[in-house]
């Protein structure tokens, strides 16, 4: 099953880093990119997005604010917030928002773990 994943980060390099690992783990998936929260919301409104990986520290609205907006738009969508900022308050708030915290720099094992769980949720929602 192929899915459409949204990658949101103000750094192009950071988006490419996620894309590189994704290309190894699920080469057939479609990648959609956004550089900020406004673009991310527009991408989700204009086409189907199955899941999203969102940077925390972005100009404008941060990753947690974006997660809340994406939740409102698509309640069941698997979401991850990626950040090097692993302070307890942030990791806790990510969990409370129903998203997965992924540490930067991102590892293949961490992304694979999030994606495996996300696939289970998406398949359960289909059946």
């Amino acid at each position: 099953m192929s899915y459409r994943i949204l990658i949101v980060d103000d750094s192009k390099l950071a988006r490419m880093a996620v894309g590189k690992i994704l290309g190894t783990v699920h080469p057939g998936w479609t990648r959609v990119e956004a550089a900020n929260a406004d673009e991310a919301v527009a991408r989700v409104r204009e086409a189907t997005v199955d899941l999203a990986v969102v940077d925390f520290n972005m100009p404008g609205r941060n990753g947690l604010e974006l997660v809340a907006e994406l939740r409102a738009l698509k309640p069941g969508m698997p979401l991850a917030v990626i950040s090097a900022n692993h302070q307890t308050e942030i990791v806790t708030r990510v969990g409370e928002a129903g998203a997965t915290f992924l540490a930067k720099p991102l590892t293949e094992a961490a992304l694979r773990c999030f994606l495996d769980t996300a696939i289970m949720h998406l398949e359960a929602a289909r059946s």
């Binding site: 750094s11 390099l13 490419m16 090097a84 900022n85 692993h86 302070q87």
Partner: protein, 215 residues
């Protein structure tokens, strides 16, 4: 002046700094017991005069800074800077609220050096690891004075017209403590940094370097 590093290289450098500072902030959070709020990092190659003006903006009072020299393939100076009036409050945040003012004053120098050490070493070590280089860090030193004093230190880095000024605001909101982290590098180090950034980009993005850094 930003032609030294192209747009994508600046993007990579900003991301590198972002990861370094965010990780270091998590260590500071453990020391102070409350969330350390960080701004989005800004990286700019500017003249020394511009750097002094930027640092002086909104900081009419005396500043206090912890600074460390780093040496290796790149040479420079990293600084953690905040208003002098807040330094005792920062020490209190780390050392504990139960201490008397006399005890806090006695601890100030040592505590500021340790805070600087955790933040600056943490940040630089993360950056060095990601660049796959080793950096030797000097012991932290404390400096007090106006903004110009921070950019007029004895080398390294060698005096040059252009410095890389990167800064991130940090804040401990309940204590109204704000400050920022700056890094200074001279031109030869920026040229070396350019080569290292290309390697970092190749490893991180799989060798696919876009011709246009716009999303």
């Amino acid at each position: 002046m930003n032609e030294i590093l192209d747009e994508f290289e600046l993007d990579a450098l900003t991301e590198l700094v972002n990861i370094g500072v965010n990780r270091a902030a998590a260590s500071l959070r453990e020391m102070v017991g409350e969330q350390v709020h960080l701004s989005v990092p800004r990286v700019a190659l500017v003249s020394r005069e511009k750097a002094i003006a930027t640092l002086g903006e909104g900081n009419p009072d005396t500043l206090v800074g912890v600074h460390q020299v780093f040496e290796g393939d790149i040479v420079g100076r990293a600084l953690l800077i905040f208003p002098d009036t807040k330094s005792l409050e920062l020490v209190r945040a780390v050392a504990g609220s139960e201490l008397s003012l006399e005890e806090i004053i006695e601890l100030e120098h040592e505590a500021l050096a340790e805070i600087g050490n955790v933040i600056l070493n943490g940040c630089l070590a993360t950056m060095a690891n990601m660049l796959q280089r080793s950096l030797k860090m000097s012991l932290p030193e404390i400096l007090r004075g106006e903004a110009s004093k921070f950019f007029d230190l004895a080398p390294p880095p060698e005096a040059g017209k252009v410095v890389m000024l990167l800064y991130i605001d940090f804040a401990l909101r309940s204590r109204e403590i704000r400050g920022y982290i700056a890094m200074l590098m001279d031109m030869p180090s920026l040229a070396a940094m350019k080569v290292m950034l290309r390697g970092f980009i190749d490893r991180t993005a799989g060798g696919v370097v876009p011709s246009n850094a716009a999303p």
